[in-house]
Symmetry: C2
């Protein structure tokens, strides 16, 4: 179990009952006690601790922005990133089927295990202990985050950006659809006449193509600003 010691070092938390950590790392495909109840508990404590950290960090941000930023910080992508950082994949216990299909590397399995670890720490060491662990892991993410933009989609950001520049709103146009009806690809352009910007992007839905085109337009605005 020397492996678990390394994980404990990364977490900066030492379990009194290591069985709890072991359970947190056990996927339901593995025989025996798995981590889904711990994940339920860990999801709860994570959501709250991140709420408390954001409440303290951003004193003048309203609850709508706090909610959006929190959603972005506790979503699967972010948790899977933390799982990478903690090298959770190498400690996971999976059943045969999951093993063979590469379940170790599946973001959802990794993210769930991270939440379960938080649940296990709460049970093992109490609230203060898990608060400290989550704070250490999230402090860098929170300090880097801009609560006015984090978690906003590209179309919203682009709209806010052009409004701040007092320019006309972007115009999205479907310029092409490719493929059969059930498996279409949409090509959408995003035009900002006054800025001389016209971008194009593909997506499996009109919406996703628009978002991609908006991202490119944001990058183009950014480039113009840096050039000036």
């Amino acid at each position: 179990m020397s492996g678990m010691q390394h994980l404990e070092q990364s977490l900066r938390y030492q379990f009194k009952e290591r069985d709890l950590l072991r359970q947190a790392l056990t996927h339901r495909s593995y025989a025996g006690k798995h981590n889904e109840r711990l994940e339920f508990l860990g999801d709860g404590v994570l959501n709250f601790v991140v709420a408390a950290l954001l409440f303290k960090q951003f004193q003048r941000i309203d609850e709508g922005d706090l909610s959006r930023v929190r959603a972005s910080l506790v979503k699967q992508d972010t948790l899977a990133q933390l799982a990478q950082q903690l090298q959770v994949a190498s400690y996971l216990r999976l059943g045969e089927g999951e093993l063979k299909s590469g379940g170790f590397n599946r973001p959802s399995i990794q993210a769930d295990a991270v939440e379960a670890i938080f649940g296990a720490i709460y049970l093992d060491g109490g609230f203060a202990a898990v608060y400290k662990v989550i704070e250490q892991l999230y402090r860098p993410l929170i300090e880097q985050s801009d609560p006015k933009t984090l978690g906003k989609d590209a179309k919203t950001l682009l709209q806010e950006t052009v409004q701040a520049l007092r320019m006309d709103l972007p115009v999205y146009t479907v310029v092409d659809t490719q493929g059969a009806a059930h498996d279409q690809t949409f090509v959408v352009s995003c035009t900002l006449d006054q800025l001389g910007i016209n971008t194009r992007a593909k997506g499996s839905s009109r919406r996703s193509a628009e978002q991609a085109a908006a991202s490119l337009a944001l990058a183009a605005i950014d480039k113009q600003h840096k050039a000036n």
Copy 2:
């Protein structure tokens, strides 16, 4: 401020900084600092503490059932019930418009204030203090609750009930629609042939009429069982 003392007694918590309690009771329609950030914080701590209480109370229930029961315990209706019990309405601070339109009695405003109070207690007294307050308020609700049924809709419960009785599934039929297209009322029947049960109910959507008819069918089954 003797009123606030009574509220503190109901909560069994005494604030060090009563301004926090005052802010928790202040709706955004009122001038000055309102309770929405505290509500964000309180929502987080409530969700987590109820998760932790359920985790402890129901050792053999899987995370799906835990989530459903929690959702039922933290929803607006339940919080508005707690608000009634704490007589929160009489302490609320609302703006003119809300005052005139009876905002005191609006379940959403009351429920939000209860969450904000939890947030305020966390800030004032820390996690252990708010855990204790929430536990006292929720203990009776949790002890009464059946984790196999709480939060399930009537159609789901009815289906599970007839399956347990090894009977045919209920049949729902729209027997009448009344009113104009944009404002229709649906009349739906729910038939359980083998039990000789046929109920009818109205609703503003087909779905809500089916749920109401299922509720009546559940009551009818219950009555048959008590008669035997």
